[in-house]
């Protein structure tokens, strides 16, 4: 076999001159194949080898987050790679008239005027333009659009590519049309994409709330702890466990997430030289999803000082998880007065959960005020006052706080208060909280993304003068499918199509697992017209008996039985609700009346006595004038007489 590798390379000037360049144009396929050979066999290995040390530096910079080094090494790497390709192409074209790939396919680059091998200058320009074309667009596409099959880099450098082996003719019309079509499509694509990107940037800039939520999603929220310690009255809290204590208080108040607390704990954990009980306490919260690990941390907290606040808090958590409320009370009282702020926040949450609103208010007064925690304290105060039936105070405090809160907290507060006002009756739709909430919602449809806010909005629109029209309009803006179905059910009911409406609600009850399921059930209860219908919902309610919404649904059942005059059943349900948060003053009054009308006068007297002893009977409390019947019966019961 002949050894092909010892054959001399034919120099371009020695090639036969018989063919004119116009007669020996290189085919686009040969040029493409030559390009592939060049890239795979020469350029890629050459470039990878040359840039290898810089790739390593780039990777190292990435690992240690050295941005300047990363940028410099990346730029050097790209420039060096481009330079290597440029040198290779320039040298081969100037010296041999072709690159390795072109040699294999019998192609040569020639000067378009002299028909000879291009000089060093033309080769250098050709390679430079080829690189630019490669970066911007596929370089071989323009081969179809020129009558001599000259790509743009050929046209810039006054060169053309000829074939010694398989010359082809000038491009056909369809080839040019194809190339021009692809160019036009690419141009259109770039234009549309650019406009889209530009518009997106403008939209984002306009919508400040989107920018804020984006920052929160990216984990920037943790800077909340940094902002808090800067405004904290005690300057020592900037570092170490004091800073973690601030984070713990913010976590307890629901201001920061578990992730944020974990970042603070991780930060401190790496720096600590000794063990820190507060860190163990924080870790037990952070790993609450892993009971074993969380308990390991809790067990460790008391290894140092059994009287420390952290140790007592760990015992409180243990008692809390066992629902041993007496023990929790005892432990909280043990550290009252000298307690750290985060334990104070947990104490308030405990008291609120236990419906001990008056104690919660008193406890809040004993804690030193902090700007960062103000939204939490205000929120709790408003809820405590409201549940104590001190409505005016609650309203005044809530409305006064709105100015000091950020957008999310203020919308949250207004929506909660509005929802509570509407629970009392649709006459409250003109209340300040509902008007404030209305303003927020009219100016920011994006807020409907929050399902809680969306549901309060629905509740608000139900009470307006033309609920049907308003709800139909709202459906279009609601992003959550299930809330849309819920509202559609309400609209159907208002359309005098109760059967369809009930079907819609029943479907939601079967498919949903969240608030909507309970709301749908509540609507079905409210739409019930007979004891038989109510009884089926009553047995379903009785079998569930757990969760946050269970007492609210029970309250609806109680109200419905009461309003239909089934006082015995109302009393039976009411007895189970006495220890729940729905047992407010109005509920007690209805209970007294139910017992009285149901013939249980002794029980009515006991309930009245309990009602009188409740915290809501402070001097500021006033009973709505509409409760005249209650006033009359209450007086009779207290005198021991018969109203008839």
């Amino acid at each position: 076999m002949d050894d092909p590798f010892f054959q001399p390379v034919e120099k371009p000037q020695e090639r036969p001159q018989a063919l004119t360049p116009e007669q020996s144009l290189a085919s686009p396929q040969d040029r493409l194949a030559a390009g592939i050979i060049d890239v795979c066999m020469v350029m890629a290995p050459l470039v990878l080898l040359i840039i290898a040390p810089f790739r390593k530096v780039m990777m190292e910079s990435l690992l240690i987050h050295n941005e300047s080094r990363f940028v410099v090494s990346s730029v050097v790497m790209v420039l060096l790679g481009l330079f290597a390709v440029w040198i290779y192409q320039s040298f081969m074209h100037a010296r041999y008239g072709a690159t390795l790939g072109k040699l294999l396919f019998g192609l040569r680059v020639v000067d378009v005027h002299s028909k000879k091998s291009p000089g060093w200058t033309a080769s250098a320009w050709r390679s430079a333009f080829w690189l630019v074309e490669t970066i911007l667009i596929f370089p071989h596409l323009s081969v179809f659009s020129h009558s001599l099959r000259r790509c743009w880099h050929d046209r810039f450098a006054d060169t053309m590519v000829v074939s010694h082996r398989k010359p082809v003719g000038r491009p056909e019309f369809w080839e040019k049309a194809f190339a021009n079509g692809v160019f036009a499509a690419l141009l259109a694509f770039f234009l549309v994409t650019s406009i889209g990107i530009f518009k997106g940037i403008l939209d984002d800039l306009e919508d400040q709330s989107k920018v804020l939520s984006l920052l929160e999603e990216n984990g920037e929220l943790c800077s909340a702890v940094g902002n808090a310690v800067r405004t904290w009255p005690d300057e020592k809290v900037s570092y170490g466990s004091e800073r973690l204590s601030v984070a713990m208080a913010m976590f307890a108040a629901g201001i920061i997430s578990k992730t944020c607390l974990a970042q603070e704990a991780d930060h401190l954990s790496a720096q600590l030289r000794d063990e820190e009980p507060l860190l163990y306490l924080a870790q037990s919260f952070i790993h609450s999803g892993n009971a074993k690990l969380s308990n390991e941390y809790l067990d460790r907290v008391c290894n140092f000082d059994k009287n420390s606040d952290s140790c007592v808090m760990s015992e409180i958590i243990n008692a809390w998880s066992k629902e041993d409320w007496e023990e929790v009370d005892e432990l909280f009282s043990k550290i009252k007065g000298k307690t750290t702020l985060h334990i104070g926040v947990w104490a308030i949450r405990h008291l609120m959960r236990q419906k001990r609103y008056f104690e919660a208010l008193t406890y809040m007064e004993s804690l030193s005020p902090q700007k960062t925690l103000a939204p939490f304290f205000n929120n709790q105060r408003v809820k405590a006052l409201w549940n104590l039936n001190r409505f005016s105070e609650a309203r005044a405090l809530a409305m006064g706080s709105l100015e000091l809160m950020d957008l999310y907290d203020s919308v949250d507060m207004a929506s909660w208060l509005c929802s509570e006002e509407l629970e009392q009756g649709c006459s409250n739709t003109a209340s300040l909280s509902c008007r404030t909430f209305d303003n927020y919602m009219k100016n920011g449809k994006d807020l409907l993304v929050d399902s809680q806010l969306a549901l309060v909005r629905v509740q608000q629109l139900e009470c307006e003068s033309e609920p049907q029209e308003n709800l139909e309009r709202l459906v279009r803006d609601l992003p959550q499918k299930r809330i849309r179905h819920y509202v559609e059910g309400l609209v159907r009911y208002l359309d005098q199509d109760p059967d369809e409406a009930r079907e819609e609600m029943r479907a939601l009850m079967d498919s949903s697992e969240d608030d909507i399921k309970w709301l749908a059930q509540r609507k079905l209860v409210e739409w019930s017209e007979s004891e038989k219908q109510l009884d089926s919902y009553y047995s379903s309610w009785r079998s569930q008996e757990s969760g946050e919404f269970w007492p609210k649904l029970g309250r609806s059942l109680f109200n419905q039985y009461y309003s239909l005059g089934y006082f015995g059943k109302a009393l039976e349900i009411g007895r189970d609700l006495l220890a729940t948060p729905v047992a407010n003053a109005d509920f007690y009054r209805k209970m007294v009346l139910s017992a009285y009308h149901g013939g249980k006068r002794k029980e009515a007297a006991v309930l009245l006595q309990a009602y009188r002893s409740m915290e809501w009977n402070s001097p500021e409390t006033r009973i709505p004038a509409s409760e005249e019947e209650f006033q009359v019966i209450a007086r009779l019961l207290e005198k021991g007489g018969d109203p008839k």
């Binding site: 092909p4 592939i36 050979i37 050459l46 019998g106 930060h267 954990s269 790496a270 063990e275």
Partner: protein, 342 residues
Amino acid sequence: MIFPFLNGIVSWTKAPVTWMIFILNALVLAFSYNPLLVTQYELEEKLKDDFFIESQGRLYAQFIEANPQFYSPLVRDMSRRVLDGDTKKLQLLGNLATRNKKFIEEGPEMEFRGDQVAADRWKRSVASLQMMKSKHPSYMLGLNAQDIDVWKWFSYIFVHSGLVHFVGNMLFFLIFAGFLETIVGGLAVLVLFLSSGALSAGFFLYFSGATAAPLVGASGAVSGIMAYFCFLYWNKPVRFVYWLFLPLRGYFGFIFLPGWVVFALWLVSDLAGYLSTVSELGGVAYTAHLGGEVIGLFVGLLISLIRGRYAGAEVPAPEVEMYKPIPFVDELVPKRQNFLKN
């Protein structure tokens, strides 16, 4: 796409030793595949545990601080950042720690400061990880810094980390070793395969440093075989099959390149890989490949010197037909061995 083809895969009657080695590799894979999958899954599950990895990162940072002389400036810089409270590096440092022999061996005995719950839990997890590793074929037969017994310098050649790894190595092995066996004989192939494998492991341990991650696979040994073949065919045409992504006549078929081009392409590719890899992160054992290539070339040179002839001058004729025509492909495409005459 271009791929060395030579005479394709030589039949087992012409290259019995090559096929024996292949079958041995296949058997080891077959017997180790299930335990490999099971233990690999368990190991990966453990390494996915954020708490474990982050605790390990924090403890590794303390370990590096106590033993800085054993670590590169890059790792020392990362550990310093972690100890200064940079939590972004925790996961990365934790993963790097898994490969560090010294830390895995001495870490469980060390008294760490700070979070003792995390430290105790990590020590228990490392003990269970070591148990898992003792059942993992790559650790049982592979060469790792914790276990460099002489027999492991050979056993690692026959273990592969999965099907793709096995197919990649064995395809090149069957093509090159099969062809070589028809020229130099089975014993020479066997000796070259084992010696290249063992010595490329030495290259790996010397240049890449001892890590707790095991070295497995026949790539070092296959590199030795390929390098020796290239030495024999230094200036002779070596047949490649190519396809230039165009479904047209003339854009796929065979191409003949001299042995030195083949060797240069492999060498450049492995050298580029080695130079661009951060030693703490490397997954491919480029140094083992380079070691195999150097050894294959060295063996070729040594034999030539002993026999008193220069590289590639005379190659014994293979027992099979040199570049036998391939039906269909040869009929369709022109041979390109005379391309330079155009």
